[in-house]
């Protein structure tokens, strides 16, 4: 019975560590998804000259959460008459709790929405390209960090569980 108890502690802590590792890996994944979404948006604006609500409707079907909900909110708000830049900010505020991004990530994403909808397609294209560039740099940085941290937490969970089991023994 005692052995079962020790196993439960080790495995419990181990899974907690794995869960934390999975959460850490979400951040670069979400940044990558946003880069893809911006690339799609750029294509729709520059080549398709697609109005923003339609473009967001197309994008929301091609991305995962939380961006699916984010672009869905944007589409709805702009159709109701809200300006794109304001809708971008309010949608960020509403989706922040559902994402694994940090403050510095949101700062870059916020800046992308500032001039959305008021410029010609060349300006929009330049602005979106710049946003993608910043996010790509951030993605490289966070991916390396996330790999290391995720590995650390995976081992840490099991090690902590083992340490607790030894202490109890």
């Amino acid at each position: 019975m005692l052995i079962v108890g020790y196993l439960v502690v080790i495995l419990g802590c181990g899974f907690l560590g794995l869960f934390k590792a999975a959460q850490i890996k979400k951040r670069p994944k979400e940044i990558r998804e946003m880069i893809n979404a911006l690339s799609l948006l750029d294509t729709e604006i520059f080549w398709g000259v697609t109005p923003l609500p339609e473009a967001f409707a197309i994008i929301k079907d091609r991305v995962d959460s939380p961006w699916k909900e984010f672009f869905g909110r944007l589409e709805e708000k702009i159709n109701k008459g809200e300006s794109a830049s304001k809708a971008w900010i309010t949608s960020i505020a509403e989706e922040q709790k559902n994402a694994s991004l940090h403050a510095e990530d949101w700062k870059i994403i916020e800046s992308i929405g500032k001039s959305l909808g008021r410029a010609d397609k060349n300006e929009e294209h330049k602005h979106l390209e710049l946003g993608q560039k910043h996010l790509t740099t951030l993605y490289e940085k966070t991916r390396n960090q996330a790999d290391l941290k995720a590995k650390m937490w995976s081992y840490l969970g099991f090690l902590a569980g083992s340490a607790i089991a030894i202490v109890i023994m």
Binding site: I45, T50, L52, I78, S83, A84, R118, K121, E124
Partner: protein, 343 residues
Amino acid sequence: MIKTASSIYLPLQDISRWVADPIGKIVQEAFKNISSKEIIEEIRLRVNQPIAVRTDKKDYFLPIKTLAGNKEQTYIVTKEDLVTSLEKMTFSSIYAAEEKLRQGFLTLPGGHRVGLAGETVVEFGRIKTLKNISALNIRLARQCEVEVSGLLVSLMNKNKNFCHTLLVSPPRAGKTTILRLLIRHLSNGLPQIGLEGQVVGVVDERSEIAGMCQGIPAFDLGCRTDVLDCCPKALGINMLIRTMSPAVVAVDELGGAEDIAAVKDAIRCGVKVLATVHADSLEELKKREHIKELLTNNAFERVVVLSRAYGPGTIEGIYDLNSGINLRPIKKELPFAKSNSCC
């Protein structure tokens, strides 16, 4: 069936969706104060000027209660108001409206047309775009239900076939409204006068006939009607004939030599033509350089002359150009003129 002005308005309560917030509130309030007997035709926003509303009876500067001259309380439209309004009207996609800006107008859902004025950017003699918008003119659309079967009977020959018809009228005399009604009845058919439904092709160069917005027409043009939106008439007529096999082609505001040549081609192909042209009378029309060819060669079989003598839709005459007879010698208004329910 004639509907009252209030019931046939396309959604006015949504006006605040399309303009800057302070303007929307003032306009909404003004609509409540304007008599229901007046028909609101336009809302004009000009930078550094008060908001103007034009009805069929008079002009107002908003807010109306300050008409007595209290300038301090008048709301003055700012440049930011116009930029915000334009952003709302283009669904925050000004880049997608570049072609419309170049042409100087937008169409909102419901068929409302917004005319734009500002600084033009000209390149190689052509307007490339419009920037620094200084004025917006929102023309409110209304769909009218009017009895036109009597008019249609005059436009058919003995074999119950529709004749090539030209509607002639000065501005705001109802020609586009009557054009829409004729298109719809030709498309759906009118069994009570023996008119069968037929395929109608519409070349809507300025999005005024169908009021298309993102591919959705605001006006009902009938179940057999195909619309080419924002297409030059000369190109559009040929395209429709080649691809959609219409029995009738309808266009608004015939103009230059290219339009006339395209109409002649359509007639040669056996397609009936229904068109409109700006003029005060048949005599004035006969002096027009390109149009007179169509009249003297009897390309058009019927000419309907409209005016505002008894309000929009007054028929001055319906001329059979083959015989030279005026089929409607007594000036008569269409029912909608008396109700003041249509433009």
